[in-house]
Amino acid sequence: MSKLNRWFLALALLIAFLPELAQAQSGLPDAGALASQNLRGYTHMFIAYFIAWGLILGWVVSIARRLGRVEKALRE
């Protein structure tokens, strides 16, 4: 299995088990949690943007590294 496929498989397992972990947490947020709703919104928003750009950057770096390797091999 190629390196890329291993990455996709690891990501798939993470996504598949994330809901199960989430469901293990019970109940609705209490009053205190609701009071901190706004702050939590900021945290979740920044994490979402961080994940999105992190994944895109990771793909770009992966393409650049693979391109570099193939170009080097073609030159040799």
Binding site: K3, L18, P19, A22, L28, H44, Y49, I63, A73
Partner: protein, 238 residues
């Protein structure tokens, strides 16, 4: 990589990056905050564009795969592979940013409601696309099997789109593609369209680079098969 692909990719990438800067300024400084959900609603401006790009990518996979099965042109298989990789990336973004919004808006990270479940299924179908491709001894057969998976997977996209209307669903209903027209306020709609344009341009840029990479990998593999004795670099398979 041909100069044409490199230059086209670079131009699209620069335009996409410029729009990314604009959309971040809009998201963090300009657009108004949604009244009931608060700031977490701003995840919408990356979640929806990522979903749009993922569906577009899988649409490209399906079209290229169908024509590949008909004409057996290697370039179509390379384009399908490049688009599938991008589609997987953007589906991952959708599946990871959605629960972050859902935790605040719904009080849960995940629920097995139709749209979420179908999107997760789409992710696994295209994971299968890569597994099928690399799991056969005969690479030509692997490409044909993968093409079939690519076509079948894309048939799910319209179902995902209509799932919130035809099934009981927690997921918000469409706010842009409705018969009455967009129901979003003007500033939110502008930010959303900027995000859609930015993600689309970035995807097309990286798609071109990934396609160019695939062409070079196969050229290298052919040279090796032809007996030039050029070794395949680490992490590069034929």
């Amino acid at each position: 990589m041909s100069g044409k692909i490199r230059w086209s990719g670079a131009v699209l990438g620069i335009l996409g990056l410029a729009l990314v800067l604009v959309v971040h300024w809009q998201v963090f400084y300009w657009v108004s905050t949604e009244r009931t959900m608060g700031v977490v609603q701003r995840i919408f401006y990356i979640h929806v564009p990522a979903a749009w790009v993922a569906f577009m990518a899988f649409g490209i996979v399906a079209v290229c795969s169908a024509v590949y099965l008909w004409l057996e042109d290697e370039r179509l298989d390379m384009a399908a592979l490049a688009a599938a990789e991008g589609g997987m990336l953007f589906t991952s973004i959708v599946l990871l940013t959605g629960p972050l919004w859902g935790r605040v808006a719904w009080g849960t990270w995940w629920t097995w409601e139709p749209r979420l479940t179908l999107t997760l299924l789409l992710f696994f179908i295209y994971l299968g696309y890569f597994l099928v491709r690399s799991s056969t001894e005969n690479s030509e057969r692997g490409k044909r099997f993968a093409a079939v998976v690519g076509i079948v997977g894309a048939l799910e996209i319209p179902l995902i789109h209509v799932s919130v209307q035809f099934f009981r669903s927690l997921h918000p209903e469409p706010v842009v593609m409705t018969p009455e027209g967009p129901s979003l306020p003007g500033d939110m709609l502008t930010t959303l369209f900027t995000g859609l344009a930015a993600f689309t341009l970035l995807f097309l840029a990286f798609f071109l680079f990934r396609y160019g990479l695939e062409r070079m990998k196969r050229a290298l593999a052919h040279r090796q098969l032809a007996g030039d004795g050029v070794p395949l670099p680490e992490g590069v398979s034929s």
